[in-house]
C-alpha cells in the first residue's frame, strides 16, 4: 500500500441471506485515476460500489479509506458521492435545489451555495437551467444534473453506477468523452460501474473484470484486452476465438490439428490449454499462404469490417474481422503472427498468471508486471 491508495478492500465478503455476492475480494484503488468495474449483471460490481458509498456494510473483511477502516461509517459521513443509474434526482426540487442539496445540508451561506451550484452547472454545460423542473429535462440533461449534484460537494471519489445505460448510443458515446474529460479536469478518482466492455475499454485507466463475486482480472484496458487471463475475460471483453489446444513446449502450441509458433512459455510439456485469437488478428489470404484453412460459413457486413465465420478441418469455429470480403462456401486461408496467439491456462488465478509472466520475462518484467499488478499490489 502506498499513500496514493485511497480505497482498499481487504478480504471483503458480502452475503445476502445465503447468497454470496462478493467472495473474499481484495484490491486497492489509487487517487486520481479512472477505474471501471466491469462484469455481467449479478457479478457484484454494484455491490462494491454500494460498499464504498456506505449503503451496505460488508459481511466480512475491512474497507479502508485513506488507511482508516470505514466499515461502519454511515454514507452521509463519507467523502464519496454517487451518480445513480436512474439519476435519483429529487422530483420535488428544481435543478438548482437538486444540485444545492448537499451544500444546504452542510448549511453553507446562500451566496456560497449559489456560486458553487452555478459553477458546477457550468462544469456540465447546464448554465441557465437553474430554474427548470426535473420533469422538464431530457435524459442527457438529467444525467448532467446528477453529475453536477455529486461533484458540487467536492468528493474525493465519484462513484458512477451505470450512468450511461439509459442514454441512446450517440449520447452515450458523447458522454464517454465528457466523463473522461471531466475526470481529468477534476483530478479525482472515478469508479465507474458498467457491463459494457466498449465503455470500459474507452474510458478507464484501470479495469476490474468481475464475475460471480470475484475479481477475475485487473489491469489497463490494453492488458486486459491483449492478455485475458481466462476464457471468461477473453469472452467478455471484445470478441474472441477460443479453441482447445496443447502446449507442446515453450513457444510451441498445438491447436486445430497443427502446431504453431507462439510467444508464451512456462507451461508443463503437453499441458492442455485454451488458445485465444482475436478476430481482427486473423488475416484473410489464399489457401496456400494461410496457416489455417477454413470454410466460410457466413458473412455479415458490419460497416467498419466484414464479420466472417467459418470452420476449420478440426471443426473449430473461427470468427474473422476483415475489410476484405469472402465468398460463403469457399475455403480461405487465415494468416496470423505468433504474437496474436494467446495461451490461457485452465484455472489460473490472476496472481499465478502475474507470477508466471514475471518469472519468464526478464527485461519485460517492469512493463508487463506493472500493468497487470496495477490494481492489486502497486
Amino acid at each position: 500500500m502506498t499513500d496514493k491508495t485511497i480505497i482498499r478492500f481487504d478480504n471483503v465478503t458480502q452475503r445476502y441471506d445465503r447468497d454470496t455476492v462478493l467472495d473474499n475480494v481484495s484490491f486497492e484503488i489509487e487517487r486520481g485515476k479512472f477505474y471501471t468495474l466491469l462484469g455481467p449483471s449479478g457479478c457484484g460490481k454494484t455491490t462494491i460500489l454500494r460498499l464504498i458509498a456506505g449503503f451496505i456494510e460488508p459481511s466480512e473483511g475491512h474497507i479502508y479509506f485513506k488507511g482508516k477502516v470505514i466499515n461502519d461509517v454511515p454514507a452521509d459521513k463519507r467523502q464519496v458521492n454517487t451518480v445513480f443509474q436512474d439519476y435519483a434526482l429529487f422530483p420535488h426540487l428544481n435543478v438548482f435545489e437538486n444540485v444545492a442539496f448537499g451544500l444546504r445540508i452542510k448549511k453553507l451561506k446562500n451566496a456560497v451555495v449559489t456560486e458553487k451550484v452555478k459553477e458546477a452547472l457550468r462544469f456540465v454545460n447546464l448554465n441557465g437551467y437553474e430554474d427548470r423542473e426535473i420533469s422538464e429535462m431530457s435524459g442527457g440533461q438529467r444525467q448532467r444534473v446528477a453529475i453536477a449534484r455529486a461533484i458540487v460537494n467536492e468528493p474525493e471519489i465519484l462513484l458512477l453506477d451505470e450512468p450511461l445505460s439509459a442514454l441512446d448510443l450517440k449520447l452515450r458515446t458523447e458522454m464517454q468523452y465528457e466523463l473522461r474529460e471531466l475526470q481529468r479536469r477534476l483530478g479525482i478518482t472515478f469508479i465507474f460501474v458498467t457491463h459494457d466492455q466498449e465503455e470500459a475499454l474507452a474510458m478507464s485507466d484501470e479495469i476490474f473484470v468481475l464475475n460471480k463475486g470475484e475479481i477475475q482480472q485487473s489491469g489497463t484496458p490494453t492488458d486486459i484486452y491483449d492478455e485475458p487471463i481466462n476464457r471468461f475475460v477473453a469472452d467478455f471483453i471484445g470478441e474472441s476465438n477460443i479453441v482447445p489446444g496443447r502446449m507442446i513446449s515453450d513457444f510451441l502450441a498445438e491447436f486445430a490439428g497443427k502446431s504453431f509458433e507462439c510467444v508464451d512459455q512456462g507451461f508443463s510439456p503437453n499441458e492442455p490449454v485454451e488458445i485465444m485469437i482475436r478476430p481482427e488478428d486473423l488475416e484473410i489470404t489464399t489457401q496456400e499462404q494461410g496457416n489455417l484453412l477454413i470454410k466460410v460459413d457466413s458473412q455479415l457486413f458490419r460497416g467498419v469490417h466484414y464479420e466472417i465465420s467459418g470452420y476449420d478441418e478440426a471443426g473449430n469455429e473461427w470468427l474473422v474481422h476483415s475489410t476484405k470480403k469472402a465468398v460463403v462456401g469457399e475455403s480461405i486461408g487465415l494468416r496470423f503472427d505468433p504474437e496474436a496467439i494467446h495461451v490461457m491456462r485452465f484455472g489460473e488465478t490472476e496472481e499465478e498468471f502475474d507470477r508466471r509472466l514475471e518469472a519468464y520475462s526478464d527485461h519485460e518484467d517492469e512493463a508487463v508486471g506493472g500493468g497487470q499488478g496495477g490494481g492489486s499490489t502497486r
Partner: protein
C-alpha cells in the same frame, strides 16, 4: 359503441340521482323551512348563535385531534410496513378490522373501557384502581382514531411504496442524516398520501355522531350529534338540514383546498 357505453352507465346514473343528488336537493330544500313548514332563513341565522358555533368548533377541534393522532400513529406504521418482509399480510391485518361493522367495534370498546371492563381489571390488578375511561374525551378520540386509522395508513403506505428508494440513498450520499433525509426528501414526496389520508379521516370525523353518544356519552356534542338530534328527537328537520348543508359546503371546501394541491404534488 357509445350506445352500449351509455347503457352501462344507467345503474350508476340512477344510483347517483337517487342516493346522492336527490338527498342533497331535499336537504337543501328542507333547510329553508321551519318546524311549521313556513319558508324561512332562520335556520341559518340560528346556526350563527353561540350554541351552534360551539358545536361547530367542537366538531372541528375533535376532527382535528382525531386526524393528528391518526397521522402520528399511521405514518410510522406505514413506514414500518414498507420495510417488513410480509407486507401484504400485515397490510391485510390492518385492513380487515375496517371491514367489521363500526357499531360492533364501538360496542367492543364499551366492554373494554367500562367500569368493570378489561382495562379497568388490569388497572385494578396493577394497583392503579378503577378509572373513569368511558365517557371521556380520551376514549372518544382513542376509539375514533382506532376506527379511522386504516384510512390514514393506506394512502401513506401507497405513497411510501411509490417512493423511489434510490432517492433515499441519494440523500444519504449527499450528506443528509437519516432524520434530514426524512424531512427533506421522504416526507415532502409522500405529502400527497398524507393529504389524502387527512381528507379521508378529517371529513368523516366532522360528522361523527354514534361514537360521541356511545363512547363519549354525549359529553362531546358535535354537528353530527346535532343533526341526529334534530331529525330524530326535536323533529326540527329544517334546522338539521341547515346544519347538514353547511357541513357539506365545508367538506367541499376542504376537499378543494387539500385535493388539488395533493394532486399537483403527486404529478411532480
Amino acid at each position: 359503441m357509445t350506445k352500449t357505453r351509455n347503457l352501462y352507465l344507467i345503474p350508476y346514473a340512477a344510483w347517483m340521482l337517487l342516493f346522492v343528488a336527490t338527498p342533497i336537493v331535499l336537504i337543501v330544500y328542507n333547510s329553508f323551512f321551519d318546524v311549521e313548514g313556513n319558508f324561512t332563513l332562520d335556520n341559518f341565522q340560528k346556526f350563527l348563535t353561540p350554541v351552534y358555533l360551539r358545536m361547530t368548533f367542537n366538531s372541528f377541534w375533535y376532527a382535528l385531534l382525531i386526524t393528528v393522532f391518526s397521522l402520528l400513529v399511521a405514518y410510522p406504521t406505514a413506514y414500518w410496513l414498507t420495510r417488513t418482509k410480509h407486507k401484504q399480510l400485515w397490510l391485510l391485518l390492518i385492513i380487515v378490522p375496517s371491514w367489521i361493522n363500526l357499531l360492533l367495534k364501538t360496542y367492543a370498546f364499551i366492554g373494554l373501557f367500562g367500569t368493570y371492563g378489561f382495562v379497568n381489571a388490569i388497572f385494578e390488578w396493577v394497583g392503579i384502581g378503577t378509572q373513569q375511561i368511558l365517557f371521556t374525551d380520551f376514549s372518544f378520540v382513542f376509539v375514533s382514531v382506532y376506527i379511522f386509522i386504516p384510512f390514514m395508513i393506506l394512502p401513506i403506505y401507497n405513497a411510501l411504496e411509490e417512493l423511489n428508494p434510490s432517492l433515499i440513498y441519494a440523500a444519504r450520499d449527499l450528506g443528509a442524516s437519516p432524520w434530514k433525509t426524512f424531512r427533506r426528501v421522504v416526507f415532502p414526496l409522500t405529502l400527497g398520501g398524507v393529504k389524502a389520508g387527512c381528507q379521508a379521516v378529517f371529513i368523516p370525523a366532522l360528522s361523527l355522531f354514534m361514537i360521541t353518544r356511545l363512547i363519549a356519552g354525549n359529553r362531546v356534542v358535535t354537528l353530527g350529534t346535532a343533526i341526529e338530534q334534530h331529525f330524530l328527537v326535536t323533529q326540527d328537520w329544517g334546522m338539521g338540514s341547515a346544519i347538514a348543508v353547511l357541513l357539506i359546503i365545508v367538506m367541499a371546501v376542504i376537499m378543494m383546498l387539500t385535493g388539488n394541491r395533493g394532486a399537483r404534488n403527486s404529478i411532480r
